[in-house]
């Protein structure tokens, strides 16, 4: 009987194709949407993470309070053992120390006299070629002129600022800043290259320096204003981040303002609300989508049972019970739902996968934007993506037909002969 039904399903294209396409398209879109939203939020969070606060951020509690006004005075000390501890405790995360500092650069003229002085916002990181920061800051991509520093006492400076000051790679400049204990620190550097992040706030005055150099300048031998952690799979996992921060902070509860404090991205960036909104919006969008699909499929089921009015009448007259007919309609719906959901999932995953691998370059649209979003939109396929469309697709088809199929029970067998002769 099942075979008989499926034979009908496969032959009667007109009754099968519309629900099949509806499910396939609906599921495909839901799947793609899921991957796309995931990818977009990842990119939004990741840019902030890469440039500002990591997926996880360890600072002193005083540094955490000071937020973006934190100075090297509030830096963490003994960074190497701390980083070691973090690496051992949370092996799924890579850690990297950074120093944020403010300062003034002094540009000499040919005679060695001050030609210009401008404030800069500095960031000192591990600039070694194979290092993790190379990837995080995308040094190869942001470099406009010159080279990334190979030797000590070399820095990178905002292209915008360099242009304004008429600086070229190889030029010399002096950094004036404050040491960790409040004294004045002065160091000479060579401009190795210029950089552009594509983010206005950063590009105005950023200066990148090697952390080793700066530690020396500041008199902070093993210090850092922050140790940033990044999930090795590249994806911010909010729940895990919160757990790690709870776990870590529970182990470091000295009431000292220099004791370390670990905060997840949602806290450190102030993006907690946004993360929640995005999570809810994603759920909401998908829910609406799935409901819409169920309604369409219910309608498809209704149209279908109208079209098959005669067939069902014949089957009732031939002695098939209403219950059996109803069950066979469900079996058909299951079959179509299964095919449609499979096709849709493959379709959505295909498109999602393309977006994950190749991405969609939107740099043209983003030229003037100050939001921290990558130039290339990417999707991300998560394990849920495989089911997010499939299960609702199947369920909606079943539900639609389960409701519309109830009409079978309302058929009056006494009317059949009359219906047939019309």
């Amino acid at each position: 009987m099942i075979k008989f039904i499926f034979r009908g399903v496969l032959r009667d294209r007109t009754r099968t194709l519309f629900p099949f396409l509806t499910v396939a398209i609906g599921v495909g879109l839901a799947v793609f949407l899921d991957a796309y939203l995931r990818g977009t939020t990842d990119s939004m969070f990741n840019t902030t993470a890469r440039l500002v606060c990591g997926h996880l951020m360890v600072t002193t509690s005083a540094g955490a309070h000071a937020g973006e006004y934190a100075t090297p005075e509030l830096a963490l000390l003994d960074v190497t053992p701390r980083q070691q501890e973090l690496e051992n405790s949370y092996p799924e995360v890579v850690w990297t120390p950074r120093i944020r500092f403010g300062g003034i650069i002094d540009i000499p003229d040919s005679t060695g006299m001050t030609r210009a002085q401008v404030p800069v916002s500095g960031m000192a990181v591990d600039l070694s070629p194979g290092g993790i920061e190379h990837k995080l800051l995308r040094l190869d991509r942001i470099l406009v002129r010159g080279k990334t520093p190979r030797n000590t006492k070399q820095i990178l400076l905002s292209e915008q600022l360099s242009q304004r000051l008429g600086l070229n790679p190889g030029d010399r400049l002096t950094l004036i800043t404050m040491t960790a204990d409040g004294g004045m620190a002065i160091a000479d550097f060579t401009l190795a290259g210029t950089i552009r992040f594509g983010i206005t706030a950063l590009d105005r005055s950023v200066l990148l320096d090697s952390i080793a150099d700066l530690r020396q300048t500041l008199g902070l031998p093993d210090g850092a204003t922050e140790i940033l952690g990044f999930f090795k799979n590249g994806v911010y996992n909010d729940r895990r981040a919160i757990n790690i921060s709870r776990h870590y902070n529970a182990r470091h509860t000295h009431p000292d303002e220099f004791s370390p404090l670990l905060r997840p991205l949602r806290e450190a960036s102030g993006m907690g609300q946004l993360i929640d909104i995005v999570a809810n919006a994603t759920g909401l969008i998908l829910t609406i989508f799935i409901i819409a699909m169920a309604v369409v499929l219910w309608n498809a089921g209704l149209i279908n049972s109208l079209r098959r009015y005669n067939e069902i009448g014949i089957r009732l007259a031939l002695g098939e019970s209403s219950r059996d007919i109803y069950l066979s309609l469900l079996a058909e719906a299951f079959f179509i739902g299964l095919l449609g959901s499979t096709a849709g999932t493959l379709l959505g995953l295909g498109a999602g996968f393309y977006m994950q691998r190749v991405g969609l370059n939107i740099s043209g649209m983003m030229r003037n934007a100050t939001v921290l979003i990558d130039d290339v939109l990417r999707a991300r396929i998560a394990p849920v993506t495989f089911f997010i469309g499939f299960i609702p697709g199947l369920f909606a088809t079943l539900l639609g037909n389960a409701i519309s199929g109830l009409a079978v029970f309302r058929r009056q067998t006494a009317q059949l002969t009359k219906e047939f002769s019309e």
Partner: protein, 237 residues
């Protein structure tokens, strides 16, 4: 013998509400049919032929009175049990042939056996036998839309008899057929009746059909006005 009669009706009344009044479609119909009869209910349009056949075929229930088919009181059956009665013992032939268009001739005829859960090998053999009966064994792979009206009705006959039911109810089976095809299917049904002993009840006002009947039950305004056994005169010459 207890089942001397295969179908009995007792004071069968069918009323339809018509606004404030009601329409009485069957008025105390008392009929008995023996196994193997080849009979027909004859009457003008609106006389209640279809209503009677529907009640006998357990598609409808009487307003009062009783119908016993194969020992079962039809009016007391649950929908499931009456479906079962139709499935096992009653074959229907309709005025419009009502084949399932997506299925082949073979599959259409196979359908009643599928709902009876007959095993595949036996199904094949019985479907082919039924198609032989109606002379369409070579069309088993055709689709209904590739058949003429006469051929379609022959497939419908094969579908009605494939489960070898005790009773075949044919509601104006020739209404959509020309003379030649009408005679052809009547000949087929006479042959089935004689060789398989299937009980046939027609509803008709077609002279051609009436000529074939061995018992003619005249219905007028829902009442039996004549019930005569006759010698079938067969095909018009």
């Amino acid at each position: 013998m207890a089942d001397e009669y295969i179908i009995e009706t007792f004071d069968l009344i069918k009323r339809y509400p018509m606004g404030r009044q009601e329409l009485v479609a069957l008025k105390k119909v008392n009929l008995k049919f023996r196994r193997g009869e080849f009979s027909g209910v004859i009457g003008p349009s609106g006389s209640g032929k279809t209503t009677l056949l529907n009640i006998i075929g357990s598609l409808d229930t009487p307003s009062s009175g009783s119908v016993v088919v194969l020992g079962e009181k039809v009016e007391t059956l649950t929908p499931y049990r009456s479906a079962q009665l139709r499935r096992r013992h009653i074959g229907f032939i309709f005025q419009t042939f009502n084949l399932l268009p997506v299925y082949t001739v073979f599959e259409n005829v196979e359908f009643p056996l599928l709902i009876l859960k007959v095993p595949p090998a036996e199904r094949r053999q019985r479907v082919m036998a039924a198609l032989e009966w109606v002379g369409l064994a070579d069309r088993e792979k055709s689709r209904p839309n590739q058949l003429s009206g006469g051929e379609s009705q022959r497939v419908a006959i094969a579908r009605a008899i494939v489960k070898q039911p005790a009773i075949v109810l044919a509601d104006e089976p020739t209404a959509n057929l020309d003379a030649e095809n009408s005679y052809h299917i009547l000949d087929t049904m006479v042959k089935i009746n004689q060789e398989l002993g299937t009980t046939f009840i027609f509803s008709t006002h077609d002279e051609k059909v009436i000529r074939y009947l061995r018992r003619k039950i005249k219905l007028l305004d829902g009442a039996v006005v004549a019930d005569k056994h006759a010698q079938p005169s067969g095909r018009e010459t």
